[in-house]
Structure formats: structure tokens, C-alpha cells
């Protein structure tokens, strides 16, 4: 088992997520987490996938992904050269008088973002290990409900995945294919 994080730029068109999910399902690749959202370019969405590979080579997964016509660019996001973040929100019964919860929240750099009807909503962002540690620390207080986002990741420094294939104006204006008069030959 080896865990990898992939950032995938896709055309922002209907059905793209289904294509990616269907590919992973039919080829037997296990997805640990998946996050999709818009990018700085309205025509492009970014999918961040954390996957656990068992007997599949990463370059095979990437090659299969590239075969999807709507997939524009893929990059592996190794922890050392990228910033990884997950978002966690959870609810714990308590109040401002409950200083133990607040101590933990403070220690982990998390925040209490809501208190309604005696229920605290706590928010935290961080790397997976940080989020897991916070969860462990808060579990004894009785977690009523929790929700976690998929992991997202961004390369450190000046490098940008979008530089590789995209222009500032839109999708790949550098790659224009002339339509042949007759595709039949």
C-alpha cells in the first residue's frame, strides 16, 4: 500500500467528476479522499485525489487519467514540496465555561466558530496528522457530529500546475487542432 496525492486539472464541463470516479471504480483504484472545486480559471476545475495503491503503479493511474479527454493536467503532490490541508468541523456539547475543550481547541490552533443551544461548533484546518490528533484529543468530550473535507494541496513556491498547459486567457490556446476536411482518411 502506498498513499499518493494527485492534483488533477479538468475542464469544467458536465460529467467530468463522473468520468474520473468511473475510471477509478472500474480499474480498481481506491480513493481515500476526493475534493473538487473551482480554480483561478472559470473554465477549469481542480480535483485533488488521495489514493491508496495496491499493486497498481502510480504512473499507470496517471496515464489512465490522462486518457480522459477532459483531463488537462495531473501532478503528484508529494508532502515535502506541497502544502496539504484538510478542513474539519465538529460539534461538541459544552459552553465557554468548559475550559478543557477550549484548551484543546487553542492548543491545536482550531477555533470555536459557533455556539448554539449549548452546542459548540469547532473548526480546524491542517495536515491529516494534525486533524487526526485533534480528533483524538476531542473524542473524550463526546463528538455529536463531524464532517471532514477531502484533502487539498498546493505546490510550494512559484510552480503552478496550471502553467503547464493553460494560458492566462483560457484553456490551452496554444493547442489548436486544425479540423481536417475529411476525417475519414
Amino acid at each position: 500500500m502506498s498513499q499518493h496525492t494527485l492534483a488533477v486539472l479538468v475542464e469544467n464541463s458536465p460529467g467530468v467528476l463522473a468520468r474520473v470516479a468511473s475510471l477509478f471504480a472500474r480499474r480498481g483504484y481506491n480513493i481515500d479522499s476526493l475534493a473538487v472545486g473551482p480554480t483561478e480559471n472559470s473554465e477549469i476545475s481542480r480535483i485533488t485525489i488521495v489514493l491508496n495503491l495496491q499493486g497498481h503503479a502510480l504512473d499507470q493511474v496517471m496515464a489512465q487519467l490522462y486518457k480522459l479527454v477532459n483531463v488537462i493536467a495531473i501532478s503528484e503532490m508529494p508532502a515535502i514540496s506541497t502544502v496539504h490541508r484538510e478542513l474539519l468541523m465538529l460539534k461538541i456539547a459544552g459552553s465557554k465555561q468548559n475550559s478543557e475543550v477550549f484548551d484543546v481547541v487553542k492548543k491545536f490552533g482550531a477555533a470555536v466558530v459557533d455556539e448554539t443551544d449549548g452546542m459548540l461548533t469547532i473548526e480546524a484546518t491542517g495536515e491529516s496528522s494534525h486533524i487526526q490528533a485533534l480528533l483524538l484529543a476531542l473524542t473524550p468530550f463526546g463528538i455529536k457530529e463531524l464532517v471532514q473535507s477531502g484533502l487539498i494541496a498546493l505546490e510550494r513556491g512559484t510552480a503552478a500546475l496550471s502553467d503547464r498547459t493553460l494560458s492566462a486567457q483560457g484553456i490551452s490556446t496554444t493547442h489548436v487542432i486544425d479540423v481536417q476536411g475529411d476525417y475519414q482518411n
Binding site: V10, E11, P14, G15, A18, R19, S22, L23, R26, A57, D59, Q60, A63, Q64, Y66, K67, L68, V69, N70, V71, I72, T165, L166, I171, S172, T173, H175, V176, I177, D178, V179, Q180, G181, D182, Y183, Q184, N185
Partner: protein
């Protein structure tokens, strides 16, 4: 500003602009608007009897001609009937474009009458697909569909168009160029990889050219011949590649794989280098992967980067068009060979001995019934290497691969990857439409034939005079062979009784075809010649053959290629071979 036309007219004009000359289809509610302009179009529309027939006909047309085949169907069941041919074309990398009608856009998602999410259904079995709900998107989608289907690794593309998009008014503008940010097949091979490949070949004393269907798709038979003769290496052609290299050539060892020749299978097993050209290490070729060609280094040339390393590690990967790869490899190899050229004589001594000792052959049945292999061999001999042979799936397919001699590319059509029974008749129809001056034989089984024979009506009505040889062993023969071998001869549900019912001659007659029968070995040639003489209507010949004939050699599924059997329980005498 050009005048407004309907989306349907825009579709037909787009198909014309893409160079379509023929399409196979059936109208229905959602696609009906398109059929009105089709009525006036110069595109020939062939009205088939089942959408599956339309899909396989498009495939047969594409495989025979190298052009992109086109099929068209309505929404719901019309579209789902295309699922099998689309999956078939995907597995065998055949360029086809399927047009389907969809329910009106405001009804999509409501479980409307004849609604099926065909884009969702076909996502895993097409190279790409589109759902069009705005008529202005039609020309671009068609242009993109033909570009995607026919370039890179070819494959099927489906364009699903909502009925209201066909009905609404739009202006027609066929795009001069398209932008596909995520679609850039690498056609030119990398020069360093070519040099690495040439260096490996120059060091190899036991090389084999492992040739796959990509060589035919790339129209690269000429380059293959040059490369083969330059290297002097043995050549094996997979089921999808038969005809890419002449069977009569002295370097040809035959077909590898489950029913390959002993020489071809063993050449791969014992090689020190596989020069893999547009082939994909399919399980039917490799047998048990962990014991496949264990001492061989691998050069893998393919246009699809995802094939590299999928099943077998490649020591040198060359991504690109295989024809261009070979073209670049030839001069690189010539300069390597100037430095040193390995002596392949000892390797050839082994291979020649295997080829001479274990030719692919058969025995005539002792009970006096007709040998199916003999029938197929005679069809190939009498009709010759200029004819096109189209097989269904099963024993007759394997015999047609073994006993017809192929000399030219695009003369052997079959369903290799998906293994689609029922492929032969409609694919032969498509091939004949694309190559009307060529004799087209469907070599079919009695099981396969009963799946799609209704397209003979289409052939009869549309002057598509194909010839069909039914190799009638009144069984699902390949399944029966497995039952004989692996299920203690318990023939559960493989007896079709088709020597009794249906009467294929009467059936042929009823469908407007000439029907002939043959059940004696001495009549085989005469009946084939009679079939050859009929060219004004389709011909069906019911060859009643020996029921228990088996396909040999065989590497049982999941076993090693080293365990190849030349007959039941009989392995080659390896001890007598110097390997």
C-alpha cells in the same frame, strides 16, 4: 450571417463536412428530426434491422477501410442496443462515431419515455462521449467526435443529442479548428527512446517482433516488412494483427496466444527481447503473466501511454504512432548494425525446428463427417488473400485465424478483445459496404449466426452481397470444448441442435439470400465455388461439420504458455528440442 436551419440539418451538414459517406442506423422518436434531412442528404443511410447490427457494421466498415464508421440510433433502447458494439470497438480500438437521439432536454432526468442516460452508460466503453442540448454545439461536437475517434489510439465516440436541440433553429458553422486541452496524442516517437530501442535490438540474439493490431491501424505493414527484414527476427502476429505481415513470409512464426502456434508461443517464451509493436500483452497472449517471457527484455512501442507497463514492464517504452516509430527505428538500427549485428542463426535453428515439427494442423474426423478446419482452409484457399474474412467468436474464429492464410492488412476482421458473438454478419456487411469490389466472407458459427443473422435482410435489400459460411457443429463449440476439457464432458446448455432447427437454407431463402448446404467433404470445394459465383445476392452456406472437433494448440486459461498442449493431454516433446 448564414440562414437559420434546424439542429437536425446542422447535424447532417456536419456529418457531410466530416466526410461521412455512409451510415448504418434505425430511426425512432428522439432521433426522428435528424431523419428528415438524412432523406435529402448525399450520405448513404443503410436501414439495419437491429441497432447492434448498425454498430458492428460501422466497425466492420472502419476495420476494412481505415475510415471512421458511423451508426445512428434513437434514444433509450435504440441507444442501449449500441452498447455491445461500442464496447467491442473500444476493446479493439476501432474508430466509430455513434449518433443517438435523446429525449428533449427538459425531460432529461425524469424517466421519460425511451429515456436512457446513454452518456452515463457508455462512459466506460467509449473513448469519449458528448451530450448536446444546444443546437449551436452540434458542429463542434461532431468535429471533435471524428477527431477523437480517428486519431491517437482510435476508438468509439458517442454523440447524444437531445430532440429539442435537433428541432430548434440554429446557424451552421463547421469549425475550422477545435481546441481539446486534454487531448494531445503523442504521434512522434522520442529520439532517445528510438536510440535505446535500436541499441537493445543490436544486443539481442533471440529477438521476436511481437506485432499487434496497432500496426494495422497505423497502416504500417510496409514499415513492418522493412524492420522485419532488417532485423531478420522471427515475427509473430496477434489475433488483431493477422495480415500485418504475410503468413507466407519465411520469418513469420504465426499467431501467439491461447490458440497460437507452438513456434509463436515458444518464441515469445524463450526470447531475450520482445520488440512489441502496437500490442498490449493481453492475457490471451501472455497466459499466466508471471511466467510469460521471463528472460526477455521488452521494447514496447504504442501510441497509448497507458498501455506501457500496464501488464508487463517495458525496458524501453516508445510512445508514438507505431508506423513512425518503425520508420525512425530503421535508420537507427542500420547504424547500430554497422557496429555489430548479432547472429540469429542459432535462434532460428530452434524456431525453424519447432515450426517444422509442430505446424498448426488438424485431422479429418474418423466418422466421415466434414472437418470444420478443412472447410475454412478451403474457403481461404479458393477465395484467396485478396478477400476479406470476418469471423464471429469461438472455435470457428480460431480456425479462421489458423487456416486462412492472410497476406494483407485489413483482410481479417474479428472481435478480439470483447469476444462478441454475433459480430460476423453485421461486420461483414459493413466491410462489404466499404469495399464493394472485394469478396467478403463471414465465417460464422451456428451459435453466432443466430444472434445477428437478421442483417442478411439488410444485405439482401441493399445490394450488399456478402457470403456467409456457417460452420455448423450444432453447438456453442468453444464452450463445449471447455466442457469437454474442464467439466468432465458435461454439456450443460451448449447443444443448439441447429442441424435440425432452424433450416439455415430455408432461412437464407426467406431473407432473400441464396442458401446452400454442404455435408460431404468431397462437395466442399464445389459448394464454395458455387457460393463464389453468386454475386447478385448474399449467399449463406450451411456447412454441417464434425461436432467434436477441437481447437489446438491450446494454452488453458490461467496457465503458463510453457504448458501449451498440441492435442488433448499432449505437450510438445520439449526434450527433443534444443531450447
Amino acid at each position: 450571417m448564414s440562414a437559420e436551419i434546424t439542429g437536425a440539418s446542422s447535424l447532417v451538414k456536419s456529418l457531410e463536412a466530416a466526410g461521412v459517406d455512409v451510415m448504418f442506423g434505425i430511426p425512432g422518436g428522439a432521433i426522428l428530426p435528424a431523419y428528415d434531412p438524412i432523406y435529402d442528404s448525399k450520405i448513404r443511410h443503410i436501414l439495419v434491422r437491429h441497432e447492434q447490427g448498425a454498430g458492428h457494421a460501422a466497425t466492420g466498415y472502419a476495420q476494412a477501410t481505415g475510415r471512421t464508421g458511423v451508426c445512428i440510433a434513437t434514444s433509450g433502447p435504440g441507444a442501449t442496443n449500441l452498447v455491445t458494439p461500442l464496447a467491442d470497438a473500444q476493446m479493439d480500438s476501432v474508430p466509430i462515431v455513434a449518433i443517438t437521439g435523446q429525449v428533449p432536454s427538459n425531460a432529461i432526468g425524469t424517466d421519460a419515455f425511451q429515456e436512457a442516460d446513454i452518456r452515463g452508460v457508455t462512459m466506460p466503453i467509449t473513448k469519449h462521449n458528448f451530450l448536446i442540448t444546444d443546437p449551436k454545439d452540434i458542429p463542434r461536437a461532431i468535429a471533435e467526435a471524428f477527431h477523437i475517434a480517428s486519431t491517437g489510439r482510435p476508438g468509439p465516440v458517442l454523440v447524444d443529442i437531445a430532440k429539442d436541440a435537433l428541432q430548434k433553429m440554429t446557424t451552421f458553422n463547421y469549425p475550422k479548428n477545435i481546441q481539446l486541452a486534454g487531448y494531445k496524442p503523442q504521434v512522434e516517437p522520442d529520439a532517445q527512446n528510438i536510440r535505446d530501442a535500436a541499441a537493445l535490438i543490436a544486443q539481442s540474439s533471440k529477438p521476436v517482433l511481437y506485432v499487434g493490431g496497432g500496426v494495422i491501424k497505423s497502416n504500417a505493414a510496409k514499415e513492418l516488412m522493412q524492420l522485419a527484414e532488417l532485423t531478420g527476427a522471427p515475427v509473430v502476429t496477434t489475433l488483431m494483427a493477422l495480415g500485418a505481415f504475410p503468413d507466407s513470409h519465411p520469418q513469420h512464426l504465426g499467431m501467439p496466444g491461447m490458440h497460437g502456434s507452438v513456434a509463436a508461443v515458444t518464441a515469445l517464451q524463450k526470447a531475450d527481447l520482445l520488440i512489441t509493436l502496437g500490442a498490449r500483452f493481453d492475457d490471451r497472449v501472455t497466459g499466466k503473466l508471471s511466467s510469460f517471457a521471463m528472460n526477455a527484455k521488452v521494447i514496447h512501442a504504442d501510441i497509448d501511454p497507458a498501455e506501457i507497463g500496464k501488464n508487463r514492464f517495458a525496458d524501453v517504452a516508445v510512445v508514438g504512432d507505431v508506423g513512425r516509430t518503425m520508420k525512425a527505428l530503421i535508420p537507427a538500427l542500420q547504424s547500430e548494425f554497422k557496429k555489430s549485428k548479432p547472429d540469429l542463426a542459432p535462434w532460428w535453428k530452434q524456431m525453424s525446428s519447432l515450426r517444422a515439427t509442430y505446424p498448426v494442423g488438424y485431422n479429418h474426423p474418423e466418422d466421415g463427417t466434414v472437418s470444420p478446419q478443412y472447410v475454412i482452409e478451403r474457403i481461404g484457399a479458393i477465395s484467396g488473400p485478396d478477400s476479406i474474412y470476418v469471423a464471429g467468436v469461438g472455435q470457428h474464429q480460431m480456425w479462421a485465424s489458423q487456416f486462412v492464410k492472410y497476406e494483407k492488412p485489413r483482410t481479417w476482421l474479428n472481435s478480439g478483445g470483447l469476444g462478441t458473438m454475433g459480430y460476423a454478419v453485421p461486420a461483414a456487411m459493413g466491410a462489404k459496404v466499404g469495399m464493394p469490389g472485394t469478396t467478403v466472407w463471414a465465417i460464422d458459427g451456428d451459435g453466432c449466426f443466430q444472434m445477428t443473422n437478421q442483417e442478411l435482410v439488410t444485405c439482401a435489400l441493399n445490394n450488399i452481397p456478402i457470403k456467409v459460411a456457417i460452420i455448423n457443429n450444432e453447438s456453442l463449440g468453444m464452450v463445449r470444448q471447455w466442457q469437454t476439457m474442464f467439466y468432465d464432458s458435461r454439456y450443460s446448455n451448449t447443444s443448439l441442435e441447429s442441424k435440425r432447427i432452424p433450416d439455415f437454407v430455408k432461412l437464407a431463402d426467406a431473407m432473400g439470400c441464396a442458401g446452400l448446404r454442404c455435408d460431404k467433404t468431397e462437395d466442399v470445394d464445389a459448394v464454395i465455388k458455387e457460393a463464389m459465383s453468386i454475386n447478385d445476392q448474399p449467399v449463406v452456406v450451411d456447412f454441417s461439420v464434425f461436432r467434436d472437433a477441437m481447437v489446438w494448440p491450446m494454452v488453458a486459461a490461467g496457465t503458463s504458455n510453457d504448458e501449451i498442449m498440441i492435442a488433448r493431454g499432449l505437450a510438445p516433446d520439449w526434450d527433443s528440442q534444443e531450447l
